[in-house]
Amino acid sequence: MSTRKFSIFRYNPNTPEVKPFMQEYTIEEPPGMTIFVALNKIREELDPTLMFDFVCRAAICGSCAMVINGKPRLACKTLTGDLKGTVTLMPLPVFKLIGDLSVDTGTWFRHLSVKTKSWIHSSKEFDPNAIEDRMDNETALEIYEAERCIECGCCIAGCVTANIREDFLGAAGINRVARFMVDPRDERSKKEYFEVIGSDEGAFGCMGLMACDDNCPMQLPLQMQLSFVRRKMVSFGLSAK
């Protein structure tokens, strides 16, 4: 069986006296091996201290994003066979490092939800005995298209603006707002949306490099979502008093 070399970023903030370094491991490579399989193998057979995150291992939950040979990707669905030479693994930038390949995306994304007020703003009271409000199926599908984001952080890690500006909401944030803007159940006014995202922290911070669009593992149409929100923000901004 062929073998594969991995070069993995190591640093534990709990032991700051040990400076960050790259550590190499070589393991056997069966056909169809994913980075998920490889990292577990390394942990179980070579180095039980290695930290990384997986949950669903099926590209649904967004836990395992990392920089793989220079690209932010989901480790669970990356086959080592598709990569050339040594596999270099780094933690996602922007997010707070927990240790080795593990970063704190949870705190970042909760903050994003709070900042963009990502919930349905409705004045209606729920009546358990009433039938549901109707919605066009096309609208439901349109909402789901934006809602498919799994908050993995690949778009944020690859984004230059997000790397410089701590307060930039990135493609995930702008896409999240787009999701509520197309939802007829959300009663927010143009002005309210503009306040949330009509600034350099939001729609106008984007510099159009579109690394987000290239890196999104869910293949969300981020370029279209970002420009949709940008155009909406211009019209909201110019029309509002």
Binding site: G62, E132, N137, Y144, R148, R185
Partner: protein
């Protein structure tokens, strides 16, 4: 003063999946101070992986017309093989439509009825009337008389979790993610909270609350091949069992999903068959109608799984390096349907198997999927044995599912029981006395855990390797406690697991165990996981009948005279086997009878000959 950071709240919810968050919302909206602990950020919970949908008898779509709560009730009870609590099932089916509508208000983009005539994959025609247009629609799922499973394309769990979590955020409920509860704190009568370990720093903390809710999901990862997320290790059940006072119900009831994809065991949703997919054997013959002429691929999951294994045993499986498998065929549904309604399936097939289901067959085999059993509660979610302790969702044995859960009933259970139990939690907490606890008692629980950690790091009890123990446990369950079970195999499983359990008490760390060391996390869980494994296999060995997913080759018939009862497994301190007790199953409306599908059913002529 305390050595440990101590955090006090009114309600402590362990687990931030759908059931946990839904219960937390109910308590928080009554003004209670709620903290949620979670292994991972809430939106990474395994609930998000539920693709197919959520059963609720709205009866909006043409194929669901005439549906009502009575039909849903009958389907659920039959599905459970009369193992479920019928009072719970009744409460559930009555609440499900309301819960689904509430989720619609909270933001779930349920797919809607589109009026007009359509031809179904099997050639039948259906017409959705204009007056139903725009209402929540449904798809077909196994074991149901009507199309009842509400869905959002194939991301129902994802959209539900995001909607529920958005309300958690809106209400400002505190979530401590990457925090693992490793022990309950109790005084033998009342639950006082938990000892938790921070998975960012390794720090031990004490969480105290008037009520504690276990919502940690299932234990799928005890099995080597499971569709479950890697975090589903049954932690909540294990810490409840460890008290010695709290019983686990029906742990031997383990669901195998018919279509786990070979060899990565990622779930291919039941929606694939619900939308018209077929199962084929190595000759590309559609074999399910031979066994189940009525329900075909859409009999309940336990039945389809058994039929598949039966068919493989007859030599009709497709050979592969990973053992024989069968094919799932959805090619005839067409590219458009596959790439919208079943897009996640298409992605999973492409990413993990390099195949496109639009023109290729998907290799599948029944795979561990769900735990019907769990922390035994009453209809209000109160855990047996300890006051102030609740359980909800897959972690609980509320007992909606009995010995087999219907597809789409678990997602529905999370939002229904989360709602109902959440209310009961709030009610209890509002009436509960102020936290009055002994300092020494609480510190004692934390100290026990600290000592375990110290011993593991020092290798004081031994030098057993946790990863090899774990592999042996996984393999034992796979080999001997699978879809078809028998006495000798189960005895082997119990013997093996007992030995493994003793070894698990002698684990020593290889690494230094500093900070949020991942090896230490696994070591801390290992004995608890083995106790669960023993509850499963010993419960299965003792139950000498076949019911739902529990299929004994040596006792192939359901035995309502002796076994119409629920297993309760206790773990007495110092023991290496659970203490099994039994309680009657509540039958209120539907007396035990014929399921209408499966081996015992009169309508399944072929099946009769087989067994």
């Amino acid at each position: 003063m305390s050595n440990y950071t101590t955090i006090v709240s009114d309600v402590l919810v362990v687990g931030a999946g759908l059931a946990g968050e839904r219960a937390a919302i109910e308590a928080a909206s009554q003004g209670l101070d709620v903290i949620i602990l979670s292994l991972v950020p809430p939106r990474r919970s395994h609930s998000t992986a539920a693709q197919g949908g959520c059963q609720a008898s709205l009866g909006n779509c043409a194929m669901g017309s005439g549906d009502n709560t009575d039909v849903h009730f009958a389907d659920t009870v039959k599905g459970s093989d009369w193992g479920c609590d019928q009072e719970v099932a009744r409460l559930f089916v009555e609440t499900a439509p309301k819960a689904v509508r509430q989720m619609s208000m909270w933001g779930v983009p349920w797919n809607r009825v589109v009026a007009g005539k359509k031809v179904l994959p099997d050639g039948r025609e259906a017409e959705d009337p204009k007056e139903k247009e725009g209402l929540i629609t449904a798809r077909d799922f196994g074991g149901t008389a009507k199309w009842r499973t509400c869905y959002t394309s194939d991301g129902a769990g994802h959209t539900l979790q995001y909607a529920v979590d958005s309300v958690v955020i809106k209400l400002g409920i505190t979530v401590h993610d990457r925090t693992e509860a490793i022990s309950l704190i109790h005084d033998g009568e009342n639950c006082l909270g938990v000892v938790a370990r921070c998975l960012k720093t390794g720090e031990l903390r004490i969480y105290l609350a008037k009520s504690t809710v276990i919502a940690t999901g299932g234990y799928g990862r005890l099995y080597g091949a499971s569709t479950n997320a890697v975090i589903n290790e049954g932690n909540g059940m294990a810490i409840a069992l460890n008290t010695g006072i709290v019983p686990l119900g029906n742990m031997e009831a383990v669901q195998f999903h018919p279509t786990g994809m070979v060899p990565v065991w990622i779930l291919i949703t039941e929606g694939a068959r619900g939308d018209g997919g077929y199962l084929l054997d190595k000759n590309h013959h559609r074999f399910m109608p031979d066994y189940e002429p009525k329900k075909k691929e859409l009999a309940s999951r336990d039945v389809v799984s058994r039929r598949m294994i039966q068919h493989i045993r007859k030599g009709h499986g497709v050979d592969s390096p990973y053992g024989p498998h069968l094919w799932l065929d959805i090619r005839h549904l067409g590219a458009k349907h596959i790439n919208t309604n079943l897009r996640e399936i298409a992605n999973i097939c492409k990413n993990f198997n390099g195949i496109d289901p639009v023109n290729a067959l998907i290799p599948v085999r029944p795979t561990q999927h769900y735990s019907m059993g769990g922390v035994r509660t009453n209809i209000d979610g109160y855990v047996y044995g300890l006051k102030g302790l609740f359980a909800v969702g897959e972690a609980a044995c509320w007992d909606l599912h009995g010995f087999n859960r219907l597809g789409g009933n678990s997602l529905a259970e999370t939002i229904v029981s989360g709602w109902i139990v959440g209310k009961k939690v709030a009610e209890y907490t509002l009436g509960a006395p102020e936290l009055n606890h002994s300092y020494g008692l609480i510190q004692g629980f934390a100290k026990v855990q600290q000592e375990r950690i110290n011993n593991l790091i020092a290798g004081k009890q031994g030098k057993e390797n946790v990863y090899s123990l774990r592999k042996e446990m996984e393999q034992t369950l796979m080999d001997y406690v699978g879809i078809f079970r028998n006495g000798p195999d189960l005895q082997k499983a119990v013997d093996n697991l007992r030995e493994l359990y003793h070894r698990s008490l002698k684990i020593g760390l290889i690494s230094n165990g500093k900070g949020a060391n991942p090896e230490l996390s696994t070591c801390l869980r290992m004995p608890g996981m083995l106790r669960l494994a023993l509850c499963i296999s010993y419960g299965a060995l003792t139950r000498t009948e076949s019911r739902g997913s529990h299929a004994r080759e040596d006792f192939p018939k359901r035995d309502d005279v002796n076994w119409l009862k629920r297993t309760l497994a206790y773990w007495k301190e110092g023991s290496d086997l659970p203490d099994l007790q039994y309680e009657p199953v509540k039958i209120t409306e539907l007396p035990p009878g014929d399921r209408g599908y499966g081996e015992a059913s009169a309508s399944s002529a072929e099946g009769k000959k087989q067994n």
